[in-house]
């Protein structure tokens, strides 16, 4: 077994001198780097997502225990916006003016982040590793020069999954249920680019994001059923996926396959939502089994993946959140913090906002990550991952490569083809801390 966490006494961080301070940028001093994050910690949209921040903080606490980043401890300040854009705006103001963060990191939600991304960029604040796959945030860095993704775009993922479906189920009727916002539109565009065709209100049905709980999705699923859809794609958040699957069961609608975008397939959220409707974990695990999805990262259940093993141990030792059960949300949180640490080390001791943005743009593919896809950051795009593998959930809610062999596919957010990627992820550093490119 690899030695992955410093049970060793000697820190591998060599601090030769006090780091230079960025005199003009808030949130960074000789002793501290302050990062800010917004996400739904409470409210209907929170299940699952509300674990990401604790996982990030756990990783940063691990790094701090090893001396921090050039002697600076990383402090993560988190604001609960309840997935309400009005609170996203006010909490962003608080992070900027009261907490004086050096950068935003890992903010969750497309429709909430869209309310603040313009202002964050106007102020020149780095907006790192946003948990949104909306391509409009990243594909033209002249629009949002300081914002970088933490996910592959929905277009990229959908193109890859769309091609797989077209190739694998050429005679099956494929339909899509999507939420009418940038997330859903992006995904629909990707599936369409891949060559799938849909007919509005018959094989392409939608719902207004946020109404899945109050209005249910019965009419949409009834339409898909009535039009003979055999494979149902769900391009929506995880709570909508859970409601869709449960509602279909109530309607007696049994698609041959469910296909769910990665953001919407989180097992924790799926089971929590169904649990609130009285469906036991054993039953919901059965409902999740067989669902096809995609990922750019190892599954949290991959017991031999060195990053999973390392992050899991750090999570056990340092995550102080109320629910630290290991799952995809925790893995994602750990990875974001890991990437951020890599970038912050890479910039060097003279840490400035501009310097950080420039570093990420110029060293994107070399920033360390647990993902099985390279990072794509450059001056021409701030997308994160352009490669995904396709899997299906097993009975234990673990996403596993279809047919047992993981194949990484890659494409762009435009009209480029889907091809196989030969990327090999670099080995994890011995202490699970990447110190720059």
């Amino acid at each position: 077994m690899l030695a992955f966490v410093a049970g060793v006494a000697v820190s591998t961080l060599a601090i030769t001198a006090l780091p230079a301070t960025a005199a003009s940028d808030p949130g960074v001093s000789a002793t501290e780097i302050v990062l800010g994050m917004q996400l739904p910690q409470s409210g209907a949209a929170s299940p699952g997502y509300n674990k990401v921040d604790d996982a990030m903080r756990g990783y940063f606490d691990y790094v701090n225990s090893k001396g921090g980043i050039y002697g600076r401890k990383v402090r993560l300040v988190v604001k609960d916006d309840q997935y309400k854009a009005g609170l996203t705006v006010s909490s962003a103001s608080s992070l900027i003016n009261k907490d004086k963060v050096f950068a935003f990191i890992g903010s969750v939600g497309t429709q909430t982040h869209i309310s603040v991304i313009g202002d964050i960029n106007r102020r020149g604040i780095p907006d790192l590793f946003v948990n949104s796959g909306y391509s409009g945030f990243y594909t033209d860095p002249t629009v949002y020069p300081n914002s970088f993704a933490a996910l592959g775009t929905y277009v990229v993922e959908s193109k890859i999954v769309g091609k797989y479906l077209k190739d694998t189920y050429p005679t099956k009727k494929i339909g899509i249920l999507y939420q009418t916002d940038d997330f859903g539109r992006n995904a629909l565009a990707g599936f369409t680019t891949a060559g799938l065709t849909f007919e509005a209100k018959k094989t392409a049905v939608n719902f207004i994001a946020g109404t899945q709980g109050s209005l249910g999705l019965a009419s949409q699923l009834t339409a898909l059923k009535a039009n003979g859809v055999e494979i149902v794609i769900v391009a929506a958040v995880a709570s909508a996926t859970a409601i869709a699957v449960a509602t279909a069961a109530q309607l007696g609608y049994k698609p041959e396959k469910w296909v769910v975008t990665s953001v919407g397939s989180d097992a924790t959220t799926f089971q929590t939502i169904l649990g609130s409707k009285g469906i036991t974990p054993a039953v919901s695990a059965g409902m999740l089994a067989g669902i096809i999805s995609a990922s750019h990262a190892p599954s949290p259940g991959e017991a031999t993946d060195e990053y999973v093993v390392a992050f899991k141990k750090i999570n056990d030792d340092f995550n102080k959140g109320p629910d630290k059960r290991w799952d995809n949300n925790v893995l994602q949180g750990m990875n974001i913090a890991y990437m951020a640490t890599s970038a912050l080390f890479g910039v060097g001791k003279d840490l400035t906002r501009k310097g950080l943005v420039s570093y990420i743009e110029n060293n994107g593919p070399n920033i360390s990550s647990a993902a099985l896809s390279p990072l794509s950051y450059s001056r021409t795009t701030h997308e994160a991952f352009k490669s995904f593998w396709i899997g299906a959930y097993d009975g234990a809610t673990v996403l596993k490569p279809i047919d047992g062999t993981r194949v990484l596919y890659t494409t762009d957010s435009g009209a480029g083809p889907v091809t196989v990627s030969n990327y090999v992820r670099p080995a994890l550093p011995a202490d699970a801390i990447a110190k720059g490119a």
């Binding site: 309400k84 009005g86 869209i114 009418t180 994001a209 946020g210 109404t211 109050s214």
Partner: protein, 524 residues
């Protein structure tokens, strides 16, 4: 179901009204010498000088007043406001200013002939007359501050460029920057309501056609039509499906989505006196619904601006000043708003349908001469080097806070251009001397009944909402900064808002040096 707003009609406007001046006898100490008189054109003025007068003299200019009466409103005669007056608190700061040792004056802004209206040109000369009169009668004046609100700010801005030596500091409270930018949006609101709700609404196309009392009544008729439909929508939260235009009739889009769309396209604040844009309940289930009710609550003032200012302006520049033939309706709904309020707008399909149909509707073609005069109305060069301090409410529904942001933007552009010329060897070295303050709303303040209905009758939010409605602390903070700037010749740096001193003025003033309110939809 309760009505959410009082029945709108011509009776419900808040512009104007009569005031009771604070008698000088009510001032704590000091004793006050009051002088009443008349300017050259016969307009009344009042001056008050306290016994602890410190040499700084403030000349107040109140905002636009319609020239003709309507129910609950009589055009003021005499001095209408002596110092800045808060509509929400129903109080001014006369006592506070006298106690602080400032001399104060104000005057009846009525033009020669007895009419108010949009009288910027007259106003500039009347202000000069007032300042000269004050200096002649109060011989120990050291510094003069000209300050005013709303529709008076074009007067002040033109005054200080024409007579730069007549004042030492300028205060703009809830002020207009580019008049045509604000009125264009108000006119857009009428137009959008005509498209989605009542095709008989003519809005700004009708303003200025008739003049005087007849024109005033015609404009009131337009206001009443808009008010009536908003009242109808308030009864059921705009739940009925749109009936107009015909292509949308079968779409099932609720009226409130069109209201929200129109409000967002015009820039009406999504916070109001009682609605914070965030809070939810069983009835107001999502924040975009809260924002829709906010727009409904704000609509009265927004339409009032369009109606009375529009009519008054139409009489000056000529009818047909509103033209939307070149307006890109899609561009007026930002991606951020489309995403943030997606649910209230009934989703992407509904947005696309409404905007698509809107873009195909007949446009309003204006009269080119009137349009040109409209765009040039109240034009200034932003060339004053006098310290200028602006104060706006984040959610001002009558003169949007974006006016202050636009003023600062234009002032900065002018400053940079003059600086470049100076460096090239021409002109004098310009001074950057502009400081903007914003009063914010509390984060959440909407109250709901047990049934989940928003309380629209209770106390309004303590800060940040309404037009010319500020706390005493906010107003006096602004006044004191003006006085200080008049003395030093320098407005504070914008970084000053982040200081502990500034933070002590009022807890709801923005302490963010980079704060920007929602920007105006137009710049000219």
């Amino acid at each position: 179901m309760r009505k959410f707003i009082a029945t709108l009609g011509a009776t419900a406007l808040i512009v104007g009204g009569t005031l009771t001046l604070i008698p000088s006898a009510n001032a704590a100490t000091p004793t006050v010498v009051t002088t009443d008189g008349k300017l050259t054109n016969g307009a009344a003025y009042t001056m008050k000088v306290p016994s602890n007068f410190n040499g700084t003299f403030f000349v107040w200019n109140h905002g636009f007043r319609p020239s003709f009466p309507y129910p609950t409103y009589t055009p003021p005669t005499g001095v209408d406001e002596l110092t800045p007056y808060s509509v929400n608190r129903k109080a001014d700061v006369t006592a506070e200013m006298l106690k602080a040792g400032y001399g104060i004056a104000s005057y009846d802004r009525v033009s020669t002939g007895g009419l108010h209206g949009w009288n910027t040109t007259d106003g500039v000369e009347m202000l000069k007359d007032m300042v000269d009169t004050a200096r002649a009668k109060v011989t120990n004046i050291k510094k003069v501050v000209v300050y005013g609100s709303s529709g008076a700010t074009p007067v002040i801005n033109q005054f200080i460029e024409k007579y730069p030596d007549k004042a030492d500091a300028v205060g703009l409270l809830a002020g207009l920057s580019a008049t045509s930018a604000s009125i264009q949006s108000a006119c857009d609101y009428f137009y959008l309501l005509s498209v989605f709700a009542d095709p008989t609404i003519k809005g700004c196309a009708a303003f200025g056609v008739a003049k005087g009392a007849a024109g005033h009544m015609a404009s009131l008729g337009e206001f009443a039509k808009a008010g009536a439909l908003l009242s109808a929508w308030s009864k059921d939260l705009g739940a009925k499906p749109l009936a107009y235009p015909a292509p949308l009739a079968a779409a099932g889009i609720p009226q409130r989505s069109a209201l929200l769309l129109a409000g967002l396209m015009v820039g009406i604040p999504t916070k109001s006196s009682h609605m914070d844009g965030i809070s939810t309940s069983a009835v107001v289930a999502e924040h975009s619904i809260n924002a829709t009710v906010a727009i409904l609550e704000n609509s009265q003032d927004a339409l009032g601006t369009g109606t009375f200012a529009g009519q008054a302006i139409g009489e000056i520049v000529g009818p047909g000043f509103y033209d939307n033939t070149k307006t890109n309706w899609f561009a007026l709904l930002s991606a951020a708003d489309s995403g943030r309020y997606n649910l209230g707008l009934s989703g992407d399909d509904a947005i696309a349908a409404m905007l698509g149909v809107l873009s195909m509707m007949p446009r309003v073609k204006g009269d080119p001469a009137a349009v040109a005069k409209f765009k040039a109305l109240d034009a200034i060069n932003y060339s004053s080097d006098k310290p200028t301090i602006l104060l706006s409410n984040e959610a001002d529904r009558l003169v949007f806070a974006g006016n202050s942001a636009l003023y600062v933007e234009n002032a900065r552009a002018s400053y940079k251009a003059r600086l470049a010329k100076y460096k090239a060897g021409t002109g004098t070295k310009p001074v950057w001397n502009t400081f903007a303050m914003y009063a914010l709303t509390p984060e959440t303040y909407t109250k709901f009944s047990d049934a989940g209905l928003p309380d629209l009758a209770g106390p309004v939010a303590e800060s940040g909402v309404g037009h010319q409605s500020f706390t005493t602390a906010q107003m006096m903070g602004w006044v004191n900064l003006l006085a200080q700037s008049a003395k030093t010749g320098k407005a504070p740096s914008q970084k000053f808002v982040a200081s502990s001193i500034f933070a002590k003025i009022d807890p709801n003033l923005s302490t963010d040096p980079d704060f920007l309110p929602n920007l105006l939809k137009y710049k000219s």
